[in-house]
Symmetry: C2
Subunit: 601 residues, 2 copies
């Protein structure tokens, strides 16, 4: 651990992916038959090394130097272009992409390791990179053979990058208000005209070309979201000529300063060519199909920020001496010996590991939904759909809060730019906003997901959450599971009471406390997946303890024992000291106070 | 209201100070006999205008331009020096200072208006200014007649400024570790030698001189806090010669960039003269005597940040149109019409007004403790002592959170520097750290204040919290008070269970969840003082309603009615939608999980 740099906790990743989620078993599925657990272990190590050695060293300067426009083009911070090259060449851009265009074809639960560690090492660099994968994936999924051949390989390798052009100045969260126009030309392409705002990596100097995936309205398209189409708009056309795309400005932001957030103008000279992806008026549906992946990635930004923060804060608390503690009276003690500091660190650790348990399991659900046995795919798809808004919103809110606590652990120096915590907090703040604000995630959860297929998703979840019925918890775990089950009941009762409120108070009343519902669910799910981890940890811990002279001696000497012991303590803490937050959300939902709707505006 | 600038909510201040706390009645006390309520009303207006017109316009540039060192001296942002001059000349530095040296002698509950609005307008400017009052007050309280004559008037008027030099690089929260030395010279002064860190306004170009109040150890002083003495160390000595004080560097911080945070070296050339304040080895006690005022001020930074944030966010939500709402289907609606946005705004408003109710009442307790009838002074001092750590820690954590929600209301633009929210969040973050970290506040509350005078402070509080026994709440207020009383019980039970934990688990177990105890108390207190406000508001609202044709018409036309109606709705929201947080804290305290103490470090 290090208080100023990012170091990956390889042991934890190994435990989560291979010991708990048993990723090796995915290799029994035909689509992953070429892999095995040993390869996954190697990837954990290589992904960690790449993130630590290539991306982390650029993080601080990326923030301080930021991006700028020179001669109408965006210049990124020193070293970003070189890192981009290595990212592409190392295959990190295409870990989960299909092999036919040069992707690695890895499961999501492995690919997520690359994403988490890259984000933790350098949020502003990685957020931009991930959009290339997203854009390439859209072309791979909806493009013609010709389009796939033209773009996919170059985007998978990072030779070309991608951007997603959705937002417009007058249309933020309301994508249906998009007014950029696309006018069909005789030879089949479209002329694009409009302005797009908040376009991450909308222009930069890291790749040879930028492929914009852009939402626009064709002539006579229906109003709202039903009249939106998706276009490929390259910065440089395939024939090598410049397309009519102009960077008007870049945003000055609270954080992710290494990531250029562009205002782009398309068709200022009436010569911006766009190429339709599949068919007109299905743009929203196309975007929705990519949404789970994109939203999980933003959730990961929260986990990654939290993960870097807990490492930095924990290391600092062990380095920094100040005053005597009760453990070492009369001498200077490391601040990690003070109960309040330990409580903060434990809160950071428990929430971070809870988020990781949640998100890596969600990645595993993705694999099972797309590559698992046919007869279980729907089940995992249901779980995936229900988990995604929680990963995105709970993940980003909690990740931000963990980093905030990290500043507090450091104290005065945490507020300075001498330590990475303050940048971490600034970088993370965007994550609760983009890719659908967290409020929209909550509406998605209670409005859409709760009601999909007559509530089937919730039924599938309820079944999943009865896992401990068949895996009877033993010794201390039994008490924790039993306590957690009380909260599971609270969650189910809250869902029921939310429905009743909807019946009596209408839609506005139903969605008013959607955020509380999502947060409640986030805690119950994170704790559930941590408890499953604790069950694995306990099986490793108990034989170690049985073979030791004493617990004290074992914990003194044996790093493996320390790891499993701490996993148990972390889970215990989540159950007794974090989960109680669910009571607050449940009570608020139940109270269903309508003052926000009745106050004068 | 304005989404990019700060405007004071004069109506709210008027209500809190004059209608609820009845500040006018303080004028019946001999020390305030020269004032009356009309003057207080005028001061609300003038303080607001000064903050809006002089300080707010400098806020953004203060952040962007920041401070720098030129030729060994700190240069502050453009306009700060001029604003400082106006601050001093307008009497804003000495609102609560004694008239004999040019102060205004106003009650704290009036003086706090200046502080809140100045902080809300420009946190980095005001934080520095407040240290001058604090330093001057120390000299006024402990100085000899000569010292008072030499320094007070010039510091009250802002001609000279002050700084507080406590922290050293090796001694952060552990003030007892201070190692700066003070060696007595034959003519009575001391030679100071040492380095002080994180010194706000430790150097600047706004005043003619800087009077450092510095903690140091005299030769052969006892170890720890018992061997610390307080010295006056002027930058320029009274005879006009330069003292040996050097600015080594200024910090690069997350926020309050307009406030120079200095690393100062005293006595590099063995010629730094310091003048003892009163006596050796009583420095800590002297600092403690000023602590209540200083900590309330930092709590105010949270309230002020929240106050500016709620104004900006509310205004933006009314300006910004996007998509149709259920209220206006088929047309573009202001985002304030969306339930989730309204919930966020109401959360911001309720917490902000709750904090204001708490802090202004605490200011009023200060007045009563120092100037009230002799036989009630102890009671108010007890309440004051108990409230201060809550104001500081709960105020700054909640203030930060309110501004964070403000960014979320704005969405993407909230993350940019085009709106003041992101700076507000960055500026506020320091407040949970300095003047005793929030963890230290929690220890102060449960460790010191709960046990002072055999628990008398808690008994006095319990009595205060039975106010509604004699002011029977009517109509809708009755239900709210009854619900709040449940939480009051929860709070008292939590205090009892904390004591039991201390008995069985020792000191570390007792203080482990001190922060949860403080937060629980914060919610119960804020809600209590809001309920008292609601009682005032109800008395104004009901006659207005009785005289109107309909509630709808009344709320359409009458701004006074809107104000009282919203005060009632805000209180209602705190009871049913904010107060439930207390359940989470109570459960965590009761669970008393010791995992943080048992985990391997």
């Amino acid at each position: 651990m290090n208080s100023t740099e990012y170091q990956v906790d390889r042991r934890e990743l190994q435990f989560v992916v291979n010991e708990t989620l048993e990723a090796g078993k995915l290799c029994e599925l035909p689509d992953f038959a070429e892999f095995d657990e040993e390869m996954f272990k190697m990837i954990i190590n290589e992904a960690s090394t790449f993130s630590e050695q290539v991306l982390a060293p650029l993080n601080e300067n990326g923030d301080r130097q930021g991006c700028r426009i020179e001669n109408g083009s965006v210049v990124t911070p020193d070293g970003f272009a070189n890192a981009w090259k290595q990212l592409g060449e190392g295959g990190w851009l295409s870990m989960n992409m299909p092999p036919e265009y040069g992707g690695q074809g890895l499961p999501e639960v492995i690919s997520i390791i690359g994403k988490e560690t890259q984000l933790a090492a350098n949020q502003s660099f990685t957020i931009g990179a991930s959009l290339t994968s997203g854009a390439a994936n859209l072309i791979y999924t909806f493009g013609s053979e010709e389009q796939k051949n033209d773009y996919c390989e170059k985007m998978f390798s990072g030779e070309w990058s991608g951007s997603m052009c959705l937002t417009e100045p007058q249309a933020g969260s309301a994508v249906g208000d998009v007014s950029t126009s696309a006018t069909k030309q005789e030879d089949g392409h479209y002329l694009i005209n409009g302005t797009k705002q908040f376009i991450t990596n909308g222009d930069h100097d890291m790749a040879d070309n930028i492929i914009h995936l852009l939402l626009a309205r064709t002539t006579d398209a229906p109003e709202g979201t039903k009249g939106i189409s998706l276009f490929i708009v390259p910065k440089v056309r395939l024939d090598g000529t410049q397309n009519d795309v102009t960077v008007l400005s870049i945003e000055h932001k609270m954080g992710i300063n290494g990531s250029p957030t562009c205002l782009l103008s398309f068709g200022e000279n009436a010569d911006c060519k766009g190429y339709l992806l599949k068919a007109e008026n299905i743009g929203m549906a196309q975007m929705f199909q990519m949404m789970n992946e994109a939203r999980l990635l933003i959730g990961l930004q929260g986990l990654a920020g939290a993960s870097a923060a807990v490492q930095n804060a924990w290391a600092y608390a062990k380095e920094r001496t100040q005053g005597p503690s009760d453990i070492h009276p009369g001498e200077k003690a490391a601040i990690v010996e003070f109960p309040d500091v330990r409580r903060m660190l434990m809160q950071m650790k428990a929430v971070t590991e809870g988020l990781r348990a949640l998100m890596y399991t969600t990645a595993w659900y993705t694999d099972m939904a797309h590559h698992g046995p046919e007869d279980s795919r729907e089940k995992y798809h249901d779980l995936l759909d229900l988990h995604i808004p929680v990963c995105k919103a709970f993940g980003t809110d909690q990740g931000f809060d963990v980093a905030r606590i990290g500043i507090q652990v450091l104290g005065g120096v945490g507020y300075t730019q001498d330590f990475p915590l303050e940048q971490n907090v600034r970088d993370q703040k965007i994550a609760s906003i983009y890719e659908g604000t967290n409020g929209i995630q909550a509406l998605d959860l209670v409005g859409r997901k709760f009601n999909t297929k007559k509530g089937q998703l919730l039924k599938v979840l309820e079944q999943e959450l009865s896992w401990f019925d068949e895996h009877t918890p033993e010794s201390e775990l039994a008490g924790w599971v039993s306590e957690w089950e009380n909260y599971r009941t609270v969650m189910l009762e809250s869902i029921a009471s939310l429905k009743k409120i909807g019946e009596t108070q209408g839609k506005a009343g139903y969605v008013l406390y959607a955020t509380n519902m999502l947060d409640l669910m986030g805690d119950v799910l994170c704790c559930f997946y941590l408890l499953k981890q604790a069950e694995s940890a306990q099986k490793k811990w108990e034989p170690l303890l049985a073979g030791a002279n004493s617990q004290e001696e074992l914990l003194e000497e044996n790093e493996e024992a320390q790891f499993y012991w701490n996993k148990l303590r972390t889970t215990e803490f989540y159950v007794w000291s974090v989960l109680p937050r669910a009571l607050s959300n449940a009570k608020t939902i139940k109270n269903a106070n309508l003052a926000p709707l009745n106050a004068c505006l």
